[in-house]
Symmetry: C2
Subunit: 333 residues, 2 copies
C-alpha cells in the first residue's frame, strides 16, 4: 500500500502517526503549546488548558463503559495531564442515519454521569447526521477547557535524570476489554475497561506532591508510547522495571492469546507520573488512597542518556521499548 494514502497506522499512536502529525499538521498549523503535550495552554486571559479528542471506538458499548463515557473521560484526563481542573466541555456528534435513538440516549446519559463525577459540564455542542454508510453509527469529538492553578507547570518536557516514574494502576484493561468484546472472546474473568475521569485523583496527587514534573494518560499506544514521548520531549532515557508493571492476569492471558503486548495496550483510566524522588512516597500514598489509584506502582527511573525507553526484564537484561510501527488496535478509543 502506498505512503500517499492514509493508512490505519496513521491513527494508532505510533511512528507513522507521529510522522503524519509532523508532516501535515505541525507544518501547516504550527506547534501545539507547549509542543508535544496533550493539552494546550492559553496565556490570555488567564492560565487555561484547552484540549480536544475524537472518539470512534468500536463497539460503542463495551464492558466498563461506552463511547460517551470514554469521550468525557478522555478529555477530562487530557486536562488533568496539564494539572488543570476542568472548567467546561464541548461535545460534537456525527451520527449515522439509522442509529437507534435509545443507543444515543444511553450514551448521552453515560456522558452526563461521567461529567458529573468529574464536576464539569458539557456546555456547548453540535450534531451532524450523515447518510447510512457514510459513518459507522456515531463518532463523538469532545473539547475541554481547564484552569491551571498558579505554580503548576506540568509538561512532558520537564522530566530530569533521577526522577521517579509512577503508574497509577494496571495496564491494558481498556484495550483488551474493547478488543475482546469486538472479537467475541470470553474469559473466565471478564475484562472490564478502566475508563474513568482522573481529574480528582490528579488534584489529590498535586496537593501531596506539588513537584510533579510530568503527567500523561497512556491511551492509544499504551505506556510504551507515553514514555517514548516523555523521553523525546525531555531528552532523557527512561528505564522501566518489567516486574514492577502491574497487569491483571486476565489481561495478560488475553494479550497472550491475541499476540499483543500490554505495554502497548490502551488505557483510559491510568496516569503516568514523573516526579523528583523526594516526593515519590507522598505521591504514591496519594495515588493509593484514591479509588482509581489503588494499584499504583513505582515502575522506573529517569536517567541521563539518549531519548529512549529501556525495559529491564525479569531476567535482568535490557530491551529497547520503541514506539510501535503498524496497526496495533484500530478504533480502540
Amino acid at each position: 500500500m502506498s505512503e500517499d494514502r492514509i493508512l490505519l497506522s496513521h491513527g494508532d499512536g505510533g511512528q507513522r502517526m507521529a510522522e503524519l502529525i509532523e508532516r501535515v499538521f505541525l507544518t501547516h498549523l504550527g506547534p501545539s503549546e507547549p509542543p508535544g503535550d496533550d493539552a494546550a495552554r492559553l496565556s490570555a486571559p488567564a492560565e487555561l488548558a484547552f484540549t480536544t479528542d475524537a472518539f470512534v471506538v468500536d463497539p460503542i458499548f463495551f464492558p466498563g463503559g461506552d463511547i460517551g463515557k470514554l469521550a468525557i473521560c478522555g478529555t477530562v484526563n487530557d486536562l488533568a495531564t496539564a494539572g488543570a481542573r476542568p472548567l467546561a466541555l464541548s461535545a460534537s456528534f456525527i451520527l449515522e442515519e439509522g442509529l437507534p435513538l435509545a443507543d444515543l440516549e444511553r450514551i448521552v446519559v453515560s456522558m452526563a454521569a461521567a461529567a458529573a463525577e468529574a464536576e464539569v459540564r458539557v456546555i456547548t455542542g453540535d450534531t451532524k447526521v450523515v447518510p447510512r454508510g457514510s459513518a459507522d453509527r456515531l463518532f463523538i469529538s469532545t473539547s475541554g477547557i481547564g484552569a491551571i492553578p498558579v505554580g503548576v507547570a506540568v509538561s512532558g518536557a520537564s522530566a530530569r535524570p533521577g526522577d521517579v516514574v509512577l503508574l497509577s494502576g494496571a495496564l491494558g484493561d481498556h484495550g483488551l476489554a474493547v478488543l475482546s468484546c469486538r472479537e467475541g472472546l470470553e474469559f473466565a474473568s471478564p475484562i472490564v475497561s478502566d475508563c474513568a475521569p482522573l481529574a480528582g485523583m490528579v488534584q489529590d496527587l498535586l496537593a501531596a506532591a506539588p513537584g510533579v514534573r510530568a503527567l500523561r494518560d497512556p491511551t492509544r499506544g499504551g505506556l510504551a508510547s507515553t514514555l517514548n514521548e516523555f523521553a523525546r520531549q525531555s531528552g532523557v532515557t527512561i528505564e522501566v522495571e518489567e516486574r514492577a508493571v502491574p497487569v491483571h492476569p486476565e489481561v495478560a492471558a488475553a494479550c497472550d492469546l491475541l499476540g499483543l503486548d500490554p505495554l502497548y495496550a490502551a488505557n483510559e483510566g491510568k496516569m503516568v507520573v514523573i516526579l523528583p524522588p523526594e516526593q515519590a512516597q507522598a505521591a504514591f500514598a496519594a495515588l493509593r488512597a484514591h479509588r482509581y489509584g489503588r494499584e499504583a506502582a513505582a515502575i522506573g527511573r529517569v536517567q541521563e542518556g539518549a531519548p529512549r525507553v529501556l525495559l529491564r526484564t525479569a531476567l535482568g537484561s535490557h530491551r529497547l521499548l520503541d514506539r510501535h510501527v503498524g496497526e496495533q488496535m484500530p478504533r480502540i478509543c
Copy 2:
C-alpha cells in the same frame, strides 16, 4: 421510517433536530449557557466564549472552499456570534483509511489560511483513522475559545420590539455551491460558496454599533431557521420584507431548478444582526465598508407578538416562515 431511529432530518437544523436536542441532549446534559446560543460562555476565569462544530460536508472540495476552510470559518463565526474575539481553536480529525494524503494536506493548508485571516491559531488537535467504509473520507470537529469584550452581551434572547434586522449579504451561496457541485449541475455563472471568517467584520460592527442585541450566522436551515430561533429565544415576532432579502440571480435559478427556498439555504459567510433602530445606520455603514458585508441589507423588523417569523411578500401579503421539517440538505456543512 420509525421515530426511534436517527433520521437524516435529525441533523438538518429544523424541527426534528430541535426535538432531538431537547429530548436527548438538553435533558441529560442540561442547557447550554446562555440557553439556545451557538457559543457558550464561561464566567471563570474571565468572560470567554467556547464553541464546537462537526463538519461532514460532501463534497470535501467545492467552489469557494473545502471542509477545512469551512471548519475554521464555522467556529470563528460561532465565536463572533457572541461578540467574541477568537483566542484559540482546536481541531479533531476522523479520517477514512485510504484518504489521499494530498487531499488532507490541501485541507489543512486551507485551514491554516482561514485561521491566519481570522488572526487565531489551532493550538491543539487529535486524529483518528477508521477502516475503509467506516467513515466517508474525513470529518473535522473544531472548537474555539474567544474573549468577550467587557460590556458586550450579545444573545439571541435580547431582541426587542422595534429593533431592526440586518443581513450582511446575499443568501444561499454556500448551500447551492455545495449542492450544485454534488449534483454535477453547471450554470452560466458558477455558484461560489460564501465561506469566510467574520470575526473582523463583527468587531467593526460592534465598534460602530455597540448596542447590537443579537448576532447569528445563518448556516444549516438558513435565514428562516435563525430568525425562528431569535423569535423563540426573545419571545417576539420578526417580520421580513421579501423584496429586501438579497439573493444572487444564479442562486435563485439553482433554487428554482432544485425546488429549494433560498430563505432556508445554508450560508457560511453571512451574519444576521438585530439592533435598536437608532444604531442601524451606523451598523449598516460598518457592514458595507467590510469586504464581507458589501451587499448588506436591512431586511426586517422585530415586533410584539407570538414567537414567529412572518414574510411580507412582494405582493404585500404575509406568509408564515416556519422552521422546516424534513431533509433539506444533508452534509451541507
